[in-house]
């Protein structure tokens, strides 16, 4: 379980996350919904130590990682994989080398085993035919699938997704959603997704939390969320229709 308490992050005097608290339960898929620029990516990066935080605590499996020693924090954060918004693939390496990178760098397996594992995970994300290709020659959806294979090759217990459908057309976006569900079901990974994509919430969400004004303002299960009149429906999902109405459309 991941417990986030009173997490505060500020940049240049602007508070992005303001005493945010959130629990991620094992085996579940939690979707954090929020407008663009509200601090969804900041939340994931702060939990994983990629950004400095001004206050609060993050416990991964009962161990506080923000104040832990570098080696302890590394060990516990190592239980979490993340799919970055841009994928973060190394453009100097082929897809195969990208996926194999964490295993090779940390010398976690012999080369023959690495080959087998890379091929297995590439197959899981439907990318087995593109292993020799370089990232610049991949489409946006393929790049994200390659990054997903790299994120899961170390068998993480938790997996974070940062806006996995951003910039993708509806059909590619749907494919990514299917893959996320497949990875969750086949590997049993606890999943945290941050997005503004309501379709993704409907397809993947079990629990849904709303991020607004720096903290979680509501958390409900999917069935409740999709009921018109519910808190998250009113605060987020109905906003599109309201904006259209206000502008006379």
């Amino acid at each position: 379980m991941i417990q986030i308490r009173d997490l505060t992050v500020a940049f240049s005097g602007r508070t992005v996350l303001d005493h945010l608290s959130l629990d991620v339960y094992e085996g579940k898929t939690l979707v954090v919904l929020g407008r663009s620029g509200i601090g969804k990516s900041v939340l994931l990066k702060a939990v994983l130590g990629l950004l400095p935080v001004q206050g609060g605590s993050v416990e991964i499996d009962g161990v506080e990682v923000l104040k832990a020693s570098v080696s302890v924090a590394r060990e516990y954060r190592g239980r979490v994989g993340m799919l970055l918004q841009n994928g973060g693939l190394f453009d100097s390496m082929s897809v195969f080398d990208n996926i194999a990178f964490p295993l090779r760098y940390h010398k976690l397996a012999p080369e023959a085993e690495i080959r087998g594992r890379v091929e297995h995970y590439a197959e899981l994300v439907d990318l087995k035919d593109a292993l020799a290709v370089f990232p610049q020659d991949l489409s946006g959806g393929m790049r994200r699938r390659a990054a997903l294979a790299r994120a899961i090759i170390q068998n993480p217990k938790y997996l974070f997704y940062d806006e996995p459908s951003t910039g993708l057309d509806p059909s590619t976006s749907a494919l990514v959603e299917i893959l996320i569900r497949r990875v969750k079901e086949e590997l049993g990974i606890t999943t945290l997704i941050v997005t503004h994509d309501v379709d993704m919430v409907m397809f993947l969400g079990e629990d849904v939390a709303l991020l607004s004004e720096g903290h979680i303002t509501a958390r409900q299960d999917l069935k409740t969320v999709m009921t018109p009149g519910s808190e998250i429906w009113e605060q987020f999902i109905s906003q599109r229709e309201k904006a259209h109405r206000e502008h006379g459309f």
């Binding site: 990066k45 994983l48 130590g49 990629l50 590394r74 954060r77 190592g78 994989g81 993340m82 970055l84 918004q85 841009n86 994928g87 973060g88 693939l89 190394f90 453009d91 990178f101 964490p102 760098y105 940390h106 990054a147 790299r150 994120a151 170390q154």
Partner: protein, 277 residues
Amino acid sequence: MSSSPFSSGDFLDKLVTEIYLGPMASEWKAVRSTLIRTWGDFFRALAVGPFPWRETGRQFVRVINDGWVTVVAGSVVQGIFVMWLAGYYGKMFGAYIWVGSVTAYAVFREFAVLMTSVLFAGRIGTAFTVEIGSMQMSEQIAAMSLMNVDPQLYLTVPRVVASLIALPIFTAFSFGIAILSSWLLMAFFWDMSAQIFFQNAFMFTPATLLTNSLIRAFVIGFTVALNAVALGFHRCAGAEDLGRSTTKSIVLNLFSVLLIDLLLGILFTTLSSGLRG
């Protein structure tokens, strides 16, 4: 109480940050803290290890491959330039037989290390800044941290170590190319024999001149690479930021080259004259 700005202890700082840099003063402060942080991180990563032998080897090959054409071209021009000046005035005063000595001394003492370092800062240093900056923009550095890979150990250490070995090699290479090209031109225009040219060339060039230049190249290679990588790690949110970082990288490194060359040149000269008594 003093009203003159010259009496103020921090006059130079004010001159640079408020008058010269103006609105860029706060930006420069941010750059300064990035440089300090990266220099610190470099030594920390080196101490913590493990040393990235494989990646360092890869970067060394890459630096040599990327830089050698520029160094050869620069060295040919440098040799011709020094020889032309020495030959022109040598002939004017009837002393052109000493052109080889003047050329060798100028090249070994100053021109080879200075010219090679400037070209290195332009060709390799800026490439480091742009490469790391674009890796930051495309979240490759964040991805490394997520995989428990220390970006300083994987990106900074190999580039810096490769550079501090490569620049002295380039400088030694430049000595040879510059002297050879100057003799070729001398033979072509003034019909000077190889025997006379090379006999005189090394008459006044002690071995310490060579080692001093190589030590300067070593220090410059280290500084230029670390500054360039540090500016790649500087806040980089888009193409405009990357352009600014690259400009800062080349300007800072050119000043660093001149300053290190001057200071170490003075130091070595003072030490050698002190040793001679």
